[in-house]
Subunit: 420 residues, 2 copies
């Protein structure tokens, strides 16, 4: 083996084993030459080849660094790397127009000034004043009447489901409306629950009435009443995930199951979609019975949501900011959906294009078969609902794309679908 290949292998192995970490500086040429008793040229050659193969990066005047992309498991890295797509229509994004950052900054700053409060751990259920504000807010907005004591805050829906599962009898059977909420289904399965799809006789029934399908169908009042009635008769517990209720725009407001039901409904909602995806504050309203069980076991739980954001959010809600924020994004998102649907209808006259009930998503059915890679390559990320009978069904969420760039995104999408 040539000497420079030996040096190459030594450094490469140190990188692959994790001994040298991404971003870390590797020994200088001079130092390595001394370490391994070889010439400067030998090290230089090895380093050039390591650069060429992407293991290290040369930075002028500062030396060589382990490249950020090198990992012992190259496949896993893909999940870590941000998409190359310029336009992401697959959902879960906000855009800069839709959130007043400087306003939120003011609330965070003011929360950080409450240094004394930040010196202790949050109560397991979450900050008391935020739970009071939420109690008031859901009463006004969704007719969900619950004292702060029954409200549990958490850093997202998942930590709340963990708490809920720990309160329920294991070996129960839980039903989900379809297979799309993988995260939630996994939590229940991990706890030993039997997970069924659309089983109205399950002990626990998980529903998101404001977002029944990926394109935001809303559960009609008649079915809500049936569900509430049936679950009460069968003594089953209903988990009402009020996901995306805030965005309902075109349809008539529908009452929450919680307001329709009795003591067997757990109400859940999140602030992430209304504010920013990175803000992790969700909450659930437990039944009286489960609240008692929680209280007896409170020593087992710890709050997951950050205290600063809890304090900030409390004032934000109390000042009525959340209501104006919701009005704002509802207006913006709905305008975007309509605009994108309009452009796509012109560009793709043969495709079937519909706006989902909650006006956040567009369903597009086209007769061409295209792979996800073909969209990505064109700079577009989409959610592919299904391939069927040589037709492709896409669900498009334009919320994360600036209004001014919708036309460009639509054109890129149309180009993929139209080219052969």
């Amino acid at each position: 083996m040539k000497k420079y290949t030996q040096i190459y292998n030594i450094i490469r192995d140190m990188i692959l084993s994790g001994e040298l970490l991404p971003g870390e500086k590797i020994p200088s040429v001079r130092k390595a030459a001394a370490n391994y008793s070889v010439s400067l040229t030998t090290v230089q050659s090895a380093y050039f080849e390591l650069c060429a193969d992407g293991y290290i990066i040369a930075q002028s005047k500062s030396g060589y660094f382990v490249s950020g992309n090198v990992h012992s498991h190259p496949d896993e890295e893909q999940a870590d790397v941000q998409s190359n797509a310029i336009y992401d229509l697959s959902g879960g994004l906000a855009d800069e127009e839709s959130f007043d950052f400087s306003l939120w900054q003011k609330y965070i700053k003011s929360a950080l000034r409450q240094s004394e409060r930040l010196l202790s751990y949050s109560q397991p259920k979450g900050e008391y004043d935020l739970r009071c504000a939420i109690s008031q807010y859901i009463k006004e907005k969704r007719n969900v009447i619950a004292p702060p004591d029954r409200i549990i805050i958490g850093a997202g829906i998942l930590p709340l489901l963990h708490i809920l599962c720990s309160l329920l009898d294991k070996k129960l059977c839980v039903s989900f409306p379809d297979k799309s909420f993988v995260l939630g289904m996994s939590v229940f399965a991990d706890y030993g629950f039997d997970v069924h799809i659309r089983d109205k006789d399950a002990d626990v029934i998980y529903v998101s009435p404001s977002h029944m399908t990926r394109w935001g169908d809303v559960m009609p009042i008649k079915r809500r009443l049936e569900l509430v009635d049936y679950s009460r008769k069968h003594n089953s517990l209903v988990i009402e995930d009020d996901y995306e209720n805030e965005f309902l725009y075109n349809v008539k407001p529908t009452p929450s199951l919680y307001a329709l039901g009795k003591d067997n409904i757990i109400y859940m909602s999140s602030f992430s979609a209304m504010l920013l995806p990175g803000i992790r504050v969700s909450f659930m309203v437990l039944t009286k019975e489960l609240t008692e069980k929680y209280n007896q076991n409170a020593f087992r739980y710890a709050q997951t949501a950050g205290k600063t954001e809890q304090i900030a959010l409390c004032s934000y809600i109390r000042d009525g900011r959340i209501k104006s924020q919701i009005r704002k994004i509802r207006r913006i998102y709905s305008a975007k959906t309509k605009k994108l649907a309009g452009i796509l209808k012109e560009l793709l006259p043969e495709a079937k294009i519909e706006i989902g009930e909650n006006t956040l998503q567009i369903i597009l059915v086209a007769k061409w078969n295209k792979s996800p890679e073909e969209f990505e390559k064109a700079g577009i990320r989409v959610f592919i609902e299904k391939y069927e009978n040589n037709r492709i069904t896409l669900v498009l969420s334009p919320s994360g794309i600036p209004m001014a760039e919708l036309e460009k995104a639509a054109r890129l999408l149309a180009d993929v679908l139209l080219c052969k």
Copy 2:
């Protein structure tokens, strides 16, 4: 047998048999009196003796709990009952001197300016650059060598344990060093694991080598090596919770189990205790095998820690702020402990007063029996480790009390212990 002795025996047997678990609330005096058809005074006498014998602990306003292990993991300390105490020596608190709020505010402000990053959800494992920074940090500090890919961020130790449990085979047996970490034990029990105490042949062994007891004993190197060796031979998984390692001051630095061990160690740590209890950012380093399993199932997980705090913390670590912060609190906390111990020794010459190995806690053994209520009434909150032979053992953590007020707190405490 006297009636109150009968009640005493009934409750004691329920505790010893495991029918009542550590931390569990026992029936109220009123309820027990009704249940066993005896007078309130009889129950009260029995409960008082159970307290004196260390079986149960009274908590003001919430009733009686099975003792020894009523406390939760100190990292996840919860202020369940709002304390009226002016001075809280029970732990889990920081004080204003120990954290530079205006500096942290700058990092948060700068994170909030990165609006584009805040518009999307965090990667399930957490922000990539924070994981890089952590990877570098734990390598330098604890010789824990792990690429960012194997690091999972979460909003506290609990969400991380949930992920870990979901990756492990259920029906395994897990061992904890004692019954004190109720939160962690509950998570494993909920997932169907068999939870044992001090079982070296368990499949999963949970240890916090830098905080083995409530007063911060440190696992000696010899035992570390034995544990690493034994676990490797027996093919068991070790969870190393590096809790309070940052505070070790008097003792020699001890290597992490992770650095001593091979591929069977999971390393966990949290930033809450170093920064502010309200900042919820913890992390774990998975083994290669479990990382692969995680990656295959990444769609099942969502990040719980807030994005703003993750971005801020990343720059905070990169700028070397975390190191100076640790030096600072180590200095402050250790000075406080020494000062409080000195004052108490003068005030209570007959008590046995020792500083714990990690200099964060003081162990005080006094010959007087006092109830938690008596301390609370005097404006002091303490952690009562046990009642034994007419002696009370307190664990005192002065970290949350300003230096200038330690003397006053000590006097209040001494007054309770000295008065009859």
